[in-house]
């Protein structure tokens, strides 16, 4: 009960600031927190990256295995994105199988990569209908300070960017590993941009305190051409159609900014 009073007080404080175009941590309404991306942090993985978005910390690792294609896409490799909200990242995360929050997180990250056609999946086909490469992207949240979606999308992309596929020879239905690696065929760099709606105002890259008081959340994932490739509204509030279109415009700018900054 106490905690909900604290929330209400903070909510008012955050809302009052936002009405003046300001935020509790000093950022402007459309400013991201500091972004740090470190690639290749886990040598044992085929690709990996660690992202710091303010105090939010996410790691992603990529493993490549040989498997079967889906029956409706017999000549494409398979992409699988999984997200773990491991309990060391937040007092509110519990051990156990993925809950709706980690499933949503994984599926939003997946959608950005898949719908932007970032990976050239046809190049990951070994024998149509029989054998293809399976790309496992595992998103691992290490510290939760808000906006897990954007940080996770960046970590996943960062990991894919340094992913190497082992060379192989295919004979008589058997895949034989050969020395050397080939980079994963990556064509696009989808960037997720998330907004919180607080006091009927949109703010970019909400941190944890803002997420606690926000009415609703919207994420737009933008590809290299400035097109939208995925959207996800979350939270128990709503947006006006105008807000949605405004968010789309800002997301396009922000994505370009981030892509430049990270040289992606």
């Amino acid at each position: 009960m106490t905690s909900s009073i604290v929330v209400r007080v903070k909510q008012k404080q955050i809302a009052r600031l936002i009405a003046k175009g300001k935020r509790l941590d000093g950022r402007g309404l459309t400013d991201y927190r500091e972004i740090k991306v470190e690639e290749g942090v886990v040598e044992r993985a085929e690709g990996s990256a660690r992202v710091l978005l303010g105090k939010t910390e996410v790691m992603a690792g990529v493993k490549i295995e040989v498997g079967q294609p889906f029956s409706d896409t017999p000549n494409e490799g398979v992409l699988t994105v999984n997200a773990e909200l491991v309990p060391l990242a937040s007092p509110t995360f519990e051990p156990g199988p993925p809950d709706e929050n980690s499933i949503e997180l994984a599926r939003v990250v997946d959608r950005g990569i898949r719908e932007s056609k970032a990976i050239d999946l046809e190049k990951l086909c070994i024998e149509p209908g029989k054998k293809v490469f399976v790309v496992f992207v595992d998103v691992y949240v290490l510290n939760h300070d808000g906006n897990l979606i954007d940080a996770s999308a960046m970590a996943a992309l960062g990991a894919l960017l340094n992913t190497k596929v082992f060379n192989y020879e295919y004979k008589d239905g058997e895949v034989k590993i050969k020395p050397g690696f080939t980079p994963l065929p990556l064509r696009k760099h989808p960037i997720a941009v998330t907004f919180a709606k607080i006091n009927d105002t949109l703010v970019v890259d909400p941190w944890l305190e803002e997420e606690r008081v926000m009415d609703a959340r919207i994420t737009l994932t933008i590809d290299d051409d400035g097109d939208i490739c995925a959207i996800q509204k979350g939270g128990s509030g709503y947006f006006s159609p105008k807000q949605v279109l405004e968010a789309a415009k800002i997301a396009k700018e922000k994505a370009e900014e981030i892509r430049k900054k990270l040289k992606w």
Partner: protein, 244 residues
């Protein structure tokens, strides 16, 4: 091996099922179709066949999940094993878990959750046959089931998708358009409040196309909204007739 991409829009500008780009599929809505549920609704939208039932406000087990200041809205979107081409395992898939969440969040803004502290309202959705756009049709039916259960609400929530197919912005995509088209934008709306309560997208749209699609989806929502209200009215009239 190579799947020929069939034309989704013909020379006359008509779609595979003969619809114009801005045309809805045939829709049939019924309210109060299940005897046990506190509220229920059935929707047919194209070949989609979906039941929604509401139980509550009721006690919540285990009790420590109850909230002191509001009701807990719970939602389960579930597909019958026979509702799709290949039999679906009845265990909830990751897709069903995500959709249960976004549907719940699409319905929540319409309710006065603080009216019923320490209780739960359960929304159960069963997709009996799926043909693209099930999440939208589910929201349309679930909101009616909530109304049928007598839960006070700000407005009905209605949902409809728009998307892009063969470079054309179209309304209410069916299964093949959803799978082979360029983009799908499901939208849920409280029309009287002009409030978007669900918005998702996958595919590829420029900002301009996106704006067009959202507006077309909103138009579709408003048309279905009229049918929703008509279905509610039909039930009340029936009740009146029975009572008289």
């Amino acid at each position: 091996m190579s799947q020929k991409v069939e034309k989704l829009i013909d020379k006359k500008g008509l779609r595979l099922d003969g619809r114009k780009p801005d045309e809805l599929r045939p829709i049939k809505i019924e309210v109060g179709v299940l005897a046990n549920a506190d509220g229920s609704a059935y929707i047919q939208q194209g070949k989609n066949k979906i039941l929604a039932a509401v139980y509550g406000p009721r006690e919540l087990h285990p009790k420590h999940l109850a909230l002191p200041d509001r009701t807990v809205l719970r939602c389960r979107y579930h597909m019958a094993p026979f509702s799709v081409q290949e039999r679906k395992s009845p265990a909830p898939s990751r897709r069903e878990i995500e959709l249960s969440k976004v549907i719940r969040e699409a319905l929540e803004p319409s309710l006065f959750l603080e009216y019923y502290p320490r209780t739960a309202i359960d929304v159960f959705i069963e997709v009996l046959q799926a043909d693209g756009g099930t999440r939208c049709a589910s929201i349309t039916a679930a909101s009616l089931a909530l109304a049928d259960a007598g839960i006070p609400m700000r407005d009905l929530v209605v949902a409809c998708a728009a998307g892009k197919v063969d470079d054309t912005i179209v309304l209410d995509l069916m299964d093949t358009e959803d799978k082979k088209g360029n983009a799908d934008v499901p939208v849920a709306l409280m029309p009287n409040l002009n409030a978007i309560t669900l918005l998702q997208m996958d595919g590829n749209l420029s900002l301009e196309e996106f704006e067009k699609a959202v507006n077309l989806a909103i138009d579709g929502c408003k048309k279905i909204y009229a049918m929703q209200k008509e279905a509610l009215r039909a039930k009340y009239v029936n009740i009146k007739e029975v009572e008289e």
